[in-house]
Amino acid sequence: MQVLFAILIAGALLGLNVWLYIANKKTPVPEGCESLKPDCSGCGITDCAIRRKEEE
């Protein structure tokens, strides 16, 4: 019984997560913000996802 609740809670949160993730992706980026860039040059974290995206 307890396990069922565990699965339900995890499932609900995961569903919420996926839903928000997809909804967020669908929301258009406001005007003027299409090409926002962080300053990666000063950062030493060379394996960061954002940096990789920028370098592509």
């Binding site: 809670i9 928000l20 300053d39």
Partner: protein
């Protein structure tokens, strides 16, 4: 516990970066410019506060009554990820100008250890809701404080003559070490 004591000790004495080493990645990443430090700091304060209060409620109103304390890690990290997505979407829709300054830092925050750390810490310390709220503002405020101080130092450091191998992050750690000594002086404050 006295709320002011709690606030000061989380802000200065047990500063997340200098005494707990939490949130080092964004610390190194965005602390090169004052403007990015402000953006990151504000985004972290907002997300930590929201996510911690939500996690607190989830833990005491859902997990504890059901005896599912062992699910807390999964639940908290999912909650944080969902909250970050929600905030990003909300800002996109309502305030383009805010998005312009914070937008780029929001995706980075899910993997910022500080958020998960504060959410978990509130539970392990057994804080009440009010204490949780104070702690969840004080900790990220301490994060932002150090980020700001550090950004100004680093802007000066950019023009300093540093040996080749120490350029970039190694010298930043030396600066952090000196700042840790300075902050350890706060220990007698409370």
């Amino acid at each position: 516990m006295n709320l002011l004591t709690l606030f000061l000790s989380a802000l200065l004495i047990n500063n997340v970066i200098l005494s707990k080493f939490i949130g080092m990645c964004p610390f190194l990443g965005v602390s090169t410019k004052l403007s990015s430090a402000v953006g990151m700091g504000l985004a972290v304060i907002f997300v930590v506060f929201g996510a911690s209060v939500l996690s607190w409620a989830l833990y005491y109103y859902a997990l504890v009554p059901l005896g599912l304390e062992y699910m807390k890690l999964i639940c908290f990290i999912l909650l944080i990820a969902a909250f970050v997505q929600f905030v990003e979407m909300f800002i996109k829709k309502t305030s383009p100008s805010l998005y312009k300054s914070l937008g780029i830092y929001l995706p980075l925050i899910t993997t910022n250890c500080a958020v998960l750390y504060v959410a978990l810490d509130n539970i392990t310390q057994g804080y009440t809701l009010v204490e949780t709220m104070v702690n969840s503002i004080a900790v990220p405020a301490g994060f932002m404080l150090v980020l700001l101080i550090f950004a100004t130092i680093r802007e000066r450091l950019a023009t300093a003559d540093v040996p080749e191998a120490w350029k970039g992050n190694p010298i930043a750690f030396v600066v952090a070490a000196i700042m840790a000594i300075a902050f350890s002086a706060f220990a007698g404050l409370v």
